[in-house]
Symmetry: C2
Subunit: 387 residues, 2 copies
């Protein structure tokens, strides 16, 4: 049993949306396919992954570094003890070999994306959905049927009115979601508060609404905004500041009572370890959102979970960023707090697949093998074009 | 006055050397050329930079993200107030626009390499060596003739004997250097100590010798090695641990009296700020080695210097990694403690240029405009092939 090919390609993401820090027009999505010599129904099995949202392309790194390292390894070195499947942890070790310490960033995307494709393949070989493989191996064996899921929405759009924003949120509720998230920090305090209040009228109360500042504030501005937001009792206040500014998080956590969320820009377990060691976030309420393909993959997520637990956080403190099938499987498989969802945005890469239905705030987990991209007809041709 | 073209390409670095963590065979060098419409002697002026050593290629990032952002800016937005030269800080801001916060790494290489080429061009337009431009703008106006310089050598090589290592070090002293550095951590404690003692016989005493572990140790092993090395009274013990492991550095600094050095793997001012805030390194003796093209460029180095000073370190605490003309100009121009040198290794990319002579431990700074790659005939054809 051996890997026969690894392919990577990047694709543009065409959108006019922006968060409080930047327009998203430059974002590119990197997709990876990992092919092996195991034949099912007359065809070689192929694993797929893609790089979530928020980072530029990383196919060159994968083609130049990670893929050749993995392909150069003796085939048996990539297998599990029994030789019956690929061992993602061993493949990850080969992919990451010879990288410098510290300064993770893009390489965490390249390695993480490749790692997701490997896990997809491994789950396909097992003939199970990935969440079930993860639940059996690392989730205490409890296989889940559904995961709590909220909509990462409320983006700033050109010409948008408060009524437009309310209509968007109403549509999410009508689709079965019970919690939504919206952007803050892109307008003045007064204008953003008006937006928040407009959405609160739709969702009913603060525990159904989170806000996301995409790290636009410095410490002083974050404290000012935190004071304005506190009376709303929101579900959480996400990324008030750059997550490497531990002192700023410490100050916000000392003055803002409701939950704080962060972690989408942390690139792995070591950065999380420092963040939790110095930021004084609160294990009883705060939320950690590291994104699987952006932060070294599912393999690293096992270490991310371990580090969170060492700092007193529990599995339900983790809510992976990303709003795609990859984060959904990780949340479901590891028993995490919940998952994000991006219905109707990000084109073929956005959303889950046709197996996933939303009911009373919960997403029903897919049953097809692997991540389930084969049940996502808008994306599948693109993934299949890689190999 | 406008930029007319930015080009980037990567080249393999063929070597059989390794440090204690890894073989260097995968390292690629990314070179950048920035062309403008200013004509001198009948030709358009071109600035060059390359990505130092230690990271993989970053030409794709530069081609896809940084170069198009800069080229899309209105030409006047890239000029200084007087409109007489390009403003590297404004160009840097355009190059870095729309990147996510935190997780710097490879993008710091892409942006930093581009930034070096911009500074080369700016100094060429001024008709001065870069170190003089930096000295006049940021170094208090004191233009220096020379910079202290040590050899980053003592690599592990296949089949090497202690006599080979001693012969290498003797050659460095014969070439005019008074301080050398060697690798540790790639062999057992006993074998590495035998190597150190062999080199001490050549260089005379510990203040002429530094050692470099390339972050191979965890905290326990670093403390063990520090105890073995302390009696030698070495110039410094470099990168005992991963520089994101602040607690490990704190432990080493608490138990090891002689200087500690680190920073080559930190990717900018914010990572240095956290490192100095939490690692308890000692401003009266410890050494900071951030590498200009690897850590967002000369533009960022001004912030790096500011952060170091905020934590009580002085200019002479900074010794930029890299062993090339770029670090030499930065060290000379900003009045830093010293510079590294890599004579005879890394092929066309290694070493300074034919203007730079070494005498009694000091490197004489180049006098030709810019970084001086035009006086480096082994590298120039390659750089010129870009545009």
């Amino acid at each position: 049993m051996r890997l026969t090919r690894i392919a990577a390609e990047s694709f543009p993401l065409t959108t006019n949306m922006s968060n409080s820090r930047r327009a998203l027009k430059e974002i590119r999505i990197t997709a990876v396919a990992v092919e092996c010599d195991v034949v099912r129904e007359g065809k070689r099995l192929v694993g797929y992954g893609y790089s979530s949202f928020g980072r530029p392309s990383c196919h060159t790194q994968i083609r130049e570094r990670m893929a050749p390292r993995v392909m150069a390894a003796p085939p048996e070195a990539l297998l599990d003890e029994a030789g019956e499947n690929f061992d993602p942890i061993r493949i990850w070790s080969h992919a990451a070999a010879d990288e410098k310490p510290a300064g993770h960033a893009e390489r965490s995307v390249a390695i993480g994306t490749l790692d997701l494709a490997v896990w997809d393949l491994v789950a396909k070989i097992e003939g199970m959905p990935l969440h079930r493989v993860l639940a059996e191996r690392y989730g205490g064996g409890e296989v889940r049927e559904s995961v709590f899921c909220y909509v990462g929405g409320g983006w700033y759009r050109p010409g948008q009115t408060l009524a437009d924003l309310q209509a968007e949120m109403r549509a999410h509720l009508d689709a079965g979601y019970t919690q939504v998230k919206m952007k803050v920090g892109g307008l003045s305090r007064v204008e953003d508060c008006a937006r928040v209040e407009a959405v609160l009228k739709v969702v009913g109360s603060g525990d159904h609404l989170a806000v996301d500042a995409n790290a636009v504030f410095d410490q002083r501005m974050a404290l000012e905004r935190a004071a304005s937001l506190a009376p709303y009792g929101l579900r959480w206040f996400e990324e008030p500041c750059n997550p490497l500014d531990y002192e700023a998080y410490k100050a916000v956590a000392a003055s803002y009572g409701p939950p704080i969320a962060s972690g989408e820009c942390l690139s792995g377990a070591q950065e999380l370890d420092n963040f939790l060691r110095y930021s004084a976030l609160r294990p009883d309420r705060d939320i950690l959102q590291l994104d699987p393909p952006l932060s070294y993959g599912v393999t690293e997520y096992l270490q991310i979970l371990r580090v969170a637990q060492q700092h007193g956080f529990s599995r339900v403190s983790l809510w992976p960023h990303g709003g795609n099938l990859m984060s959904l499987h990780v949340a479901g498989g590891l028993g995490l707090g919940g998952s994000e969802s991006y219905p109707g945005v990000f084109g073929a890469f956005g959303g889950f697949n046709r197996e996933v239905t939303i009911e009373r705030g919960y997403a029903r987990l897919p049953k097809s093998p692997g991540l389930g991209f084969e049940e996502k007809p808008e994306l599948l041709p693109l993934l299949r074009s890689l190999i």
